[in-house]
Homo-oligomer: 384 residues x 2
């Protein structure tokens, strides 16, 4: 016997061709994401409880008709949680955009997480306060992170880079996410050496820098995790869209490590009229499955995000949401070191700034890191 | 010491804004997907061996300039296999489109799989001949598959549907991919009952129908696999983009079961100027990681594929490629039962036709399946 327990809502922006009826499109979506059969062959109980309930279909005011005579509509569909999703994050993502991805003009603008699933996922295990605690950084200061790279260096060379950044005083040194388990620097050699180098820098300077290796989730994921823990690492970098939602959730639950998420592949979802809004995917969903920090490509760097996208992600990661701890936005992707104080003013201190190229261009990595740290400290303690 | 062993090639279609230089865009891509730092900070050995080597940049002839003054270019980049990828399929996908996804106007048109990775993945364990063998269907006939649904039914109701389709004579009955482990039909109850119903139908009719449950890859993936095997299932349905590339590869390697892949989420990659071509993603890559059959939305159904897309996927799944066995294209997504003979003429017999709604609309599922089977048999034996 089917019973209704809880409905959760997904908000879509529908872009309709002139011949498309937005109400029909919303109803079709509600069928497609649940039962995948036409309404006329459904038993009434299933039509009532399993098919998403279309609650709202309304025109999007701003700008009126879109290009080519298309029109845009906001649709809200309420799905019954236990019957359609249960506590399976994989199935939630499937319901969110699985078959819908294969249609056109469907953009997920907002998504509630059903309570059971939220409980099951649990969100960040450290969150902003936990990561601050590990780094020993008070609330008024943002965290600074540097990326160890490039792919192709030996473990010794990467360890030297880690030492330099740590000695320069950044809070976290992370592996580039392209560092997996390749021949030049196999995971099992790279990670202990980099962690040792950071620990040595901490001993030399009295710092508390952390090192987060990238866990590439090949066949040896659990072995890599064990190695990272045994080496003394307190966090890892994971690419949720490469390793899978359930794997990411499990890592957050079981690893005991801080999870920083990399947005590899995420851009596939960011088309303006079809996909999942960046703040929903990287903010709401990555946080839900347990990411303590979420790396995203900051506006003005090498990628295509707008300031609005970035601020929306920041908001989603930090806002109160159920029992979830807030997660750190990690702004990256071509941030210039000398502009970090400005970004700090705009984004506020509950942000991690992740730098790569603009430090490498300065050649003296320790000096570059130290100047960055000093500039941020000055901005934080004097001017703010 | 870095040594070159094997380079593999990725072909991109670049869409360039009027101000964009296609050569610079190709070089940038070669850096972005490997070292993620500007060329000027790279040691020469890394610039030579790790950064992708741009081999071709040429205008795409057809149609000249694209809309809005943009131009389209074909770029071929050769990457060194061992240094950039190794045998990690996750890292291969990352190199293919990880950071590139976050840029604009980059379409993966073709992708070689490095030999080491191909060996590691191994492709379909059954492939077309293996699946034919399990079903006892000779080469001249396509396979027919029906989907058990909708979500919301009880295990008993779903089992009745499975019985009807099997008794009607389809070769494979598969779960709808929205069937996970939800309350109305938990996996552990649903799967043994559906398998039992299919076995019973086989006993009643002398048929050899198989039942493939959808493995939802929640936390209990391995338990679900064990249940499916214990129930006597010979195959499963998996959504590689939901469960992850490495998980799919591992299932093919370790499960001993036929793997049918569902394309959930794949549409995110199918924008015309940015993403991964359907035949590369669903054809080349899904086959490489071990899918024996790949479900795709056939042209003219509920989704947006063109005939060209469909035929390209068919070709990629069947063509000789390294040591890989050919995999079955599984045409689906709104195929009308009465048009299957036409599709058979077009796609040829090494195809699985997967039907859902058009059988359900006929109400008498056993009769609908039997008519479909008979029509295909007639077309196969008499007219061909």
């Amino acid at each position: 016997m089917l019973q209704s327990n809880e409905r959760f809502r997904i908000t879509y922006r529908l872009t309709c061709e002139p011949a498309e009826d937005p109400y029909a499109k919303a109803r079709d979506l509600a069928l497609e994401q649940t039962v995948e059969v036409p309404a006329e062959v459904l038993p009434p109980a299933i039509a009532e409880l399993v098919v998403g309930r279309v609650e709202v279909v309304e025109p999007v005011e701003e700008g009126g008709a879109a290009e080519g005579g298309a029109s845009t509509w906001r649709a809200v569909i309420a799905y019954e949680a236990e019957v359609t999703v249960g506590d399976d994050v994989t199935q939630f993502v499937n319901l969110l955009f699985g078959n819908a991805s294969l249609k056109a003009g469907i953009l997920v603008e907002d998504a509630d997480i059903p309570a059971t699933l939220l409980m099951r996922c649990g969100g960040p295990r450290f969150g902003i306060p936990g990561v601050r605690g590990l780094c020993g950084v008070e609330d008024a200061r943002p965290l600074l992170c540097a990326a160890a790279k490039p792919l192709g260096l030996s473990p010794a060379d990467l360890a030297n880079i880690c030492y330099a950044f740590a000695a320069g005083g950044v809070d976290i040194v992370k592996d580039d996410h392209g560092l997996a388990d390749q021949a030049p620097a196999p995971f099992a050699e790279r990670v202990p050496r980099c962690q040792e180098a950071v620990a040595r820098a901490n001993a030399d300077t009295g710092g508390r820098t952390l090192y987060f290796p990238h866990v590439s989730a090949g066949a040896n994921l659990d072995a890599q995790l064990e190695l990272a823990r045994a080496a003394g690492c307190r966090g890892i970098v994971v690419s949720p869209l490469l390793v899978g939602w359930e794997t990411t959730r499990r890592l957050a639950e079981e690893s005991g490590l801080v999870i920083f998420a990399h947005p590899a592949l995420a851009g596939a979802f960011f088309h303006p009229t079809h996909g999942i809004r960046p703040d929903v995917l990287l903010g709401r969903l990555f946080r839900t499955v347990g990411c303590d920090g979420v790396i995203y490509p900051n506006v003005g760097g090498r990628f295509t995000f707008s300031l609005e996208d970035c601020e929306a992600i920041n908001r989603r990661l930090r806002e109160p949401y159920g029992v979830l701890r807030p997660a750190f936005p990690v702004a990256a992707g071509g941030i210039a070191a000398d502009r970090v104080p400005e970004w700090l003013d705009r984004y506020g201190p509950d942000t991690v700034f992740l730098l790569g190229s603009s430090l490498y261009r300065q050649r003296d990595l320790r000096g570059a890191a130290a100047r960055l740290v000093e500039a941020v400290r000055r901005r934080t303690t004097v001017e703010r």
